[in-house]
Symmetry: C4
Subunit: 200 residues, 4 copies
């Protein structure tokens, strides 16, 4: 089976999940005080919109890069991809939890742990997806550059580890955990940093 | 008419329906008690997210597999496909009903029956779609393997029957019905089980 | 400019508008009485889901059919198409209005007139889109069958007229107007009725 | 990397953002007075639906036009595009703010400034996206017409400037700012106005 329809379906889920993020930025109530104050007050919504948008964007770019080395897909790959998309599509929910609870004393920890855990699970699914395809070059294009394929393979493990670490940081400081995730996303976009690929 | 635009439109509906599922997982109220308790308390939401996501994912994989044997589509096929998509797009609604009512005594039966019935109707539409295309190889590619085509044709009838049975189970035990549907979805994803295809 | 990206964008809007319809079917309140009663009571939601889904589905099939005769698109065609999509994307809103108000004495007329007017405007935009492309075969493929092109051209005028008539019926009987629209949609799907194309 | 998957993903985000606009047009309450009065009373919703739909439509047409001159994309281009899409996907939120607050004395200014600022940021991202691709013809197709490429390059600067000006107008008169934006969108769609391209 060629990869084209799997790519189209995945791109659809990425595009919808990334665009649904905006539904979690709430329109203030008409009689809840000055609009400006209310807008400034919901800064956590903008922050989690920003971080989640960048992270899904990075995941999309990386999915794109991985699939470009893949020749065809089989049934197992399709189902691992469904599991991976299930984690990605859950991000708008956990992003909304962070928006709503990151300033609530006693709840901010659970919010940040849930967020980090979801990203870690996403990274693990992505890793499994790639390892399944790359093991013995099962689904890899015959003309794919072996060094590039191995480079991706090596870069995936630190990815899951980094997200798990950021989740652990949330146990100490929920805000620091978000700062780490946002910093990673920005760092990741710097050009010419080979190992930066790990953050995806 | 070639199949490509029908596939793109169907993939769009699948991708949106599967991603809208997350909108039915509700963000807890800020002052409704501990976030952690509230999150644990809404376990039926995660369960129906999981089951519905897997089922729509399986439907997508199977739609993909069926269409790969189809050469072109006609007007009737397009409209049967619209009916099929109407059933698929209804799944987020019945999934939300299950999340909300599976723990409400007296209402859990109606919720599970509605869910199972929607899946049964989806399976029947899918079956009709395929039988219409396969009858006398009406829309089948000239080079499609006859044994594979017949294998799909045979596997569709148990599919509708299995969903109808799971719906009947809901009359006795709503939770058992969900467990059967979730188990089927997982079983279906096991590799190399020819008749497992029936669950789609 | 080739038609492919316009088709992809239009298919995206159709797929999203058709799938958003389900968000207008409301999940009953947990303590608002028996689930079964509440579900039965909101029959107008299912009816308008059904009619709106079929109508958008028909529009999609027809857009598909029209574009298959078109060779390339220009700037004006793209903007007429944006206007057309603006009307299509408004259907979930007017469909929700019908669900909510078709049983409210005094408001049912306004609801049905709004619904019919939106469909009439959609039909007019669709007509303008086609006439722009077909006038002097401006954007038509050189190898398109002239009789088919003229057949489509002729069939569009009754389409707008039929929707306008159904809207006028709403002034007398809102329910009858919906029945006419639903009947038209079903009638339209019957095979081999040349002028049935008009309903799209 | 070829442009096709970037186009598909961008089209997905455009299509979803443009269709989500309708979710911000609220269904009136069933017992909130006459439906007709309530519908007429929420005219700002229709106005911002109209303006935002046209603006996203124009952005789509222009993105389409720019990408048709681009041969391939690199990692930096993909990330600038993600930032650009982040601004586009934010439009439904600021559009809802305008609908809700444009008639609230004291808040209408903040609403219109937020709206205009979002559009200005979108225009700046779009500009950066194009300049990155066009600088030294980095990503431009070898066969692209140099005069057309330079024409686009020149037309982008007034675009950001026009949006910034409309935002400044909002400080004096919020309604006038919206009128300018709506007028620009309509003006932009007139054929054969070379510099009209600037408004996108």
């Amino acid at each position: 089976v060629p990869t084209s329809r799997l790519e189209a379906f995945s791109d659809g889920v990425f595009a919808i999940a990334i665009t649904l993020l905006v539904l979690e930025v709430k329109v203030p109530a008409r009689h809840g005080g000055s609009l400006q104050d209310q807008l400034l007050h919901q800064w956590p919504s903008y922050l989690s919109y920003l971080i989640s948008f960048l992270i899904i964007g990075i995941i999309w770019v990386n999915h794109h890069a991985c699939l470009s080395h893949i020749d065809h897909v089989d049934r197992a790959f399709q189902f691992i991809n469904v599991g991976f998309l299930m984690a990605v599509a859950f991000i708008p929910f956990v992003s909304a939890i962070v928006s709503e609870f990151i300033e609530v004393p006693g709840d901010e920890r659970a919010a940040a742990v849930l967020y980090g855990t979801t990203l870690t699970i996403t990274a693990i699914f992505f890793n499994v997806l790639w390892q399944y395809a790359a093991r013995g070059r099962r689904l890899i294009r015959p003309d794919a550059d072996p060094r590039e394929v191995e480079g991706i393979t090596r870069s995936f493990w630190p990815g899951a580890f980094i997200y798990a670490s950021a989740t652990a940081v949330a146990l100490v400081s929920p805000i620091a955990s978000l700062a780490v995730l946002g910093g990673l996303a920005l760092f990741y976009m710097l050009p010419n940093r080979r190992w930066a690929r790990a953050a995806g």
